[in-house]
Symmetry: C2
Subunit: 201 residues, 2 copies
């Protein structure tokens, strides 16, 4: 143990290394799936020694769980940033639907999808991932309800908001193999109109 002054930069370096490993793991997962995202391969991508990587993530499962948490957290942060930009008045519902849809695209989503696919065949990974997913699902739902000013005591409103997130997930999956953004825009607009009718019904 060094002095407090010596420990500080060491902890900072350690945090920076961990963050670099997580970013590299997201990239490896999105680009090569779990087969290409061993701790060793991730260390190489991050430019970190294998020993240092194993210090942070002794097993592949440790790494995957940390990646899942990292992806969910950064998705949450991104949402909080964007919430401030959602316009009032007409167009608000469409902006909220678009925000939900955007949460299921990009490198983070592609990495998460590889982990979901792996978890489907790995009971231990599934048991660890599920509670995280459920927590984030609840948060996303709560955020959408708040942003939409949705009154969930009215029949159908809760299900319509849930369906919005399921639609977003489905559009994300449709976008995995091809650029689906033009079609997605039209569907978002249409869905927002249908959702508005339920909310203001």
């Amino acid at each position: 143990m060094g002095t407090a002054a010596e420990r500080e930069p060491r902890q900072e370096r350690s945090r920076a290394t961990r963050a670099r490993l997580l970013e590299a793991a997201v990239t490896r997962l999105a680009e090569s799936g779990v087969a290409g995202a061993t701790v060793g391969a991730v260390a190489e991508t991050a430019g970190v020694s294998r020993g240092a990587a194993q210090h942070h993530f002794p097993t592949r499962e440790d790494l995957y769980l940390a990646v899942m948490r990292h992806v969910l957290d950064s998705r949450g942060e991104e949402l909080r940033r964007r919430i401030a930009t959602v316009p009032e008045g007409p167009g608000r519902t469409e902006a909220v639907v678009q925000m939900a849809v955007d949460a299921f695209t990009g490198e983070d989503f592609r990495a998460a999808l590889q982990l979901w696919a792996a978890a489907a065949n790995d009971p231990a990974l599934r048991e660890s991932i599920l509670p995280m997913e459920e927590r984030v699902g609840r948060e996303l739902h709560r955020a959408a309800v708040g942003l939409l000013g949705a009154d969930e005591s009215r029949p159908g409103v809760r299900e319509a908001v849930q369906a919005t997130l399921d639609l977003a997930r489905g559009l994300g999956l449709a976008n995995l193999l091809t650029d689906d953004s033009a079609r997605r825009r039209r569907i978002v607009r249409q869905w927002a109109g249908m959702l508005d009718a339920v909310l203001t019904g």
Copy 2:
């Protein structure tokens, strides 16, 4: 080359072997992902010699493409069977939405999802799978339009039908790690009501 009479049973046996290999491949993919679905592992599950399996599917990619075609074809057959059972009158829209949602569950969907995840990182596989996906997407859409009696010349109708299939895909993904059927039923009912409002607008 034997006589015609000798060839006939040989061809039949060959078809039966191929079908057994494809079923085994679906099971292996759904249960173990692509890592557990080598031609050798599939041959073992099917109770077929490795040589015979390699005769039908020289490479893993040949096997995956055949599996994808098999899954899409059997999904199509299942849909055609069920179309006859869709009730007329009220409840028809909900039955059609339920049918779309059911097309994205089960072992076939889980196997297809593993192939999509693999194709995301494998340009050759993606290029082969995409045209199949697009064809089936168009067929599904056409079937839904026909069953719903949807008039796509009216604004929003086309997008609402497309959204139904995207929602179904998203619900399938949500169901991958956990049994989501109770929530799904409520969403199907709600969405059917919203879709009806657009169709009869």
